[in-house]
């Protein structure tokens, strides 16, 4: 603890924001799937892990800082492909089942993906270095702040705007929102709901891949990162309001900022703070802060 100057405070706030943005990208995808398909997708975390590992491989494959930029584009597409295969081969046959079965199916999927990742990439810790453009740090009020985190803070709102434009301005986005509210009605209008669901699922999982690619330079990539992430992502989506993208943003900010202030003031119990915040929010507003689409 000790004395905490305003520079540290602001820096820590920014660190919290940058972590929130990664969480937001992942949670926006999770929330989107939850809103349209009504399925809490536990495999979302595993897809995020694939994104991170794929980024590692791609940066290795292409030497220099161009590798990261390629990975940032290719890795999420790879994740989207995996999710498309899983959805069309297995998941789409289960939509009529009860919730619990769908939930357990996604858990089974996450177990399988977890082991496949172990087979492909092994159990060692991996790390990715940030591209040259984003290496090093800038000085904010005399305290140094990593450049890559600034990049994350910029990317988060971009994703939010892109997703907002997609769901509100494009036809498929509107259809998917309609399917979330009343899937029978959408089917009656002659739209193939099964493919709408597939598209929504793949887009959500694509965002998980983007999150995985973005997080790669900031953490050590390892097995088990899926399990720690998915529980946080679920809680964020719940406190924000199910299926509400802005809710995911608010939830991510709450989660990230409480965690980073926890690190500043009481490092040992830093991870307790976000959970505490979540519990307080849920006790006051059990259905989330913003309106849920359910």
């Amino acid at each position: 603890m000790g004395s905490v100057g305003p520079a540290e405070l602001i820096c820590q706030l920014l660190v919290g924001f940058s972590r929130s943005m990664i969480l937001f990208v992942v949670c926006a995808g999770l929330s989107f799937v939850l809103g349209v398909l009504r399925v809490p997708n536990i495999a979302h975390g595993s897809l995020y892990m694939i994104g991170a590992f794929a980024t590692f491989s791609l940066t290795k494959m292409f030497a220099g800082s161009v590798g990261f930029w390629i990975a940032l584009i290719v890795a999420p597409l790879l994740v989207a492909l995996v999710s498309l295969i899983a959805e069309r081969a297995l998941f789409c046959h289960l939509y009529q089942r009860e919730h619990l079965m769908l939930l357990l199916f996604t858990f089974a999927l996450s177990l399988i993906i977890g082991d496949l990742v172990k087979i492909v990439w092994g159990a060692e810790y991996r790390s990715v270095s940030a591209p040259a453009l984003l290496k090093g740090s800038v000085s904010i009020l005399g305290a140094s702040f990593p450049r890559y985190n600034l990049f994350l803070i910029l990317i988060g709102p971009l994703v939010a705007i892109a997703l907002w434009l997609f769901t509100n301005k494009t036809k498929i986005g509107k259809i998917s929102r309609a399917a979330a509210v009343d899937r029978e009605m959408v089917g009656v209008l002659g739209i193939n709901v099964s493919w709408v669901f597939a598209a929504a699922f793949v887009i959500g999982c694509y965002l998980a891949g983007v999150g995985g690619a973005l997080v790669a330079p900031t953490v050590s990539i390892t097995l088990g990162m899926d399990h720690t992430l998915i529980i946080e992502a679920f809680l964020i989506v719940i406190i924000g309001g199910l299926g509400n993208m802005w809710g995911a943003l608010v939830g991510s900010l709450i989660f990230g900022v409480t965690h980073s202030f926890g690190v500043l003031f009481w490092p040992q119990f830093a991870i307790v703070f976000p959970y505490m915040a979540v519990v307080i929010v849920l006790l006051l507003r059990p259905k989330g802060l913003l309106k849920s689409v359910w």
Partner: protein, 319 residues
């Protein structure tokens, strides 16, 4: 109640199995005795979850917390206090039930998925505290080498202790589920609105169901400590909660003994498949998908359906 149990069709085979299990440690290798004991502990945990999920219809998403709390309570009592040994052992289930009461009190006011999510968040809070509080719970290292009374120090003795406690708990659970309380719980699962209408205090019953189930989860936690002489924070992690869910699914939700079968399958899979390949969760995942697609009522439910076509309708009603 007892006479009904004695007259049950299942009584003969069950008693037979019990006697076999009782004499097994006399000639079975140590390793198998240990695995069997682990299956008993896990079965009790899965059965306690099934009480609330299968019979109570509640989304108890973070059941492992109560298991872990029970285990930590007895471990801390044994290492940090000098109370009589039976007090330590009783403390596990009691603390678990108290935590169950507190968490349940918040959760029963919500429905379905929100219930489960609030429970996950409260449970994760407890996990996070246990995970980081090094000075008290040992943090992520856990507590190892917990002193046990000399009576329970040998593996065979703990095997018998676990088996006897398991049987007592199973009889208690059976009686609870067949009692008016158990029937009410199942009625609430099938139609909460109607139960409310006939004057049943739904939340009150659900809360009581949670407390009873968490009590048994705490017993399972104590038995885990008896077997392993150690506790660690992973006991409260949410992946374990989902694993217990899988056990219930594999065995069958709406059967009494299904979770035992599911626990046995899971533990055996981890032990024996885990010996040949490190990718046993891959096999578990594939098995789970096969069960979801082809045997949604679980292995036990499937066989009961073969013998008793009526059971299937009962299971259908539960959805």
């Amino acid at each position: 109640m007892f006479t009904r149990m004695l007259r049950s069709r299942w009584f003969g085979p069950t008693a037979g199995i019990f006697i076999v299990l009782l004499i097994l440690p006399l000639f079975a290798p140590r390793f198998y005795v240990y695995i069997l004991a682990l299956i008993y502990v896990t079965s009790l945990l899965a059965m306690s979850l099934n009480m609330v999920v299968g019979h109570g219809g509640m989304f108890q998403f973070h059941h492992a917390v109560f298991y872990g709390v029970g285990a930590y309570a007895v471990a801390l009592m044994l290492t940090k206090t000098s109370m009589p040994i039976w007090v330590d052992f009783i403390a596990g289930p009691i603390v678990a039930a108290i935590i169950g009461l507190i968490i349940g009190w918040f959760c029963v006011r919500l429905s379905r998925l929100y219930f489960g999510m609030l429970q996950i968040s409260l449970g994760s809070l407890i996990w996070a505290i246990v995970f980081r509080w090094y000075s008290f719970t040992g943090g992520d290292d856990g507590i190892h080498g917990i002193p046990m009374p000399s009576l329970l120090s040998s593996l065979n003795n703990s095997y018998y202790f676990i088996l006897i406690i398991l049987v007592i708990c199973l009889i208690m659970m059976y009686m609870i589920l067949k009692s008016p309380f158990g029937s009410t719980l199942q009625a609430i699962r099938d139609n909460p609105q109607r139960c409310e209408a006939v004057g049943i205090n739904v939340r009150h019953y659900q809360l009581l169901g949670i407390v009873v189930a968490t009590f048994f989860a705490g017993v399972a936690g104590v038995l885990f400590v008896v077997l392993e002489h150690s506790v660690f924070a992973d006991l409260l992690f949410w992946t374990l909660s989902l694993e217990i869910f899988i056990m219930c699914l594999l065995g069958g939700w709406f059967t009494f003994a299904g979770p035992i079968l599911g626990a046995a399958i899971t533990v055996a899979l981890r032990t024996f498949v885990g010996k040949y390949t490190e990718y046993w969760t891959l096999i578990l995942g594939i098995m789970l998908i096969l069960v979801i697609f082809f045997l949604p009522e679980g292995v036990m439910g499937f066989f009961q359906g073969l013998f008793k076509p009526g059971m299937k309708e009962v299971a259908e009603r539960g959805k």
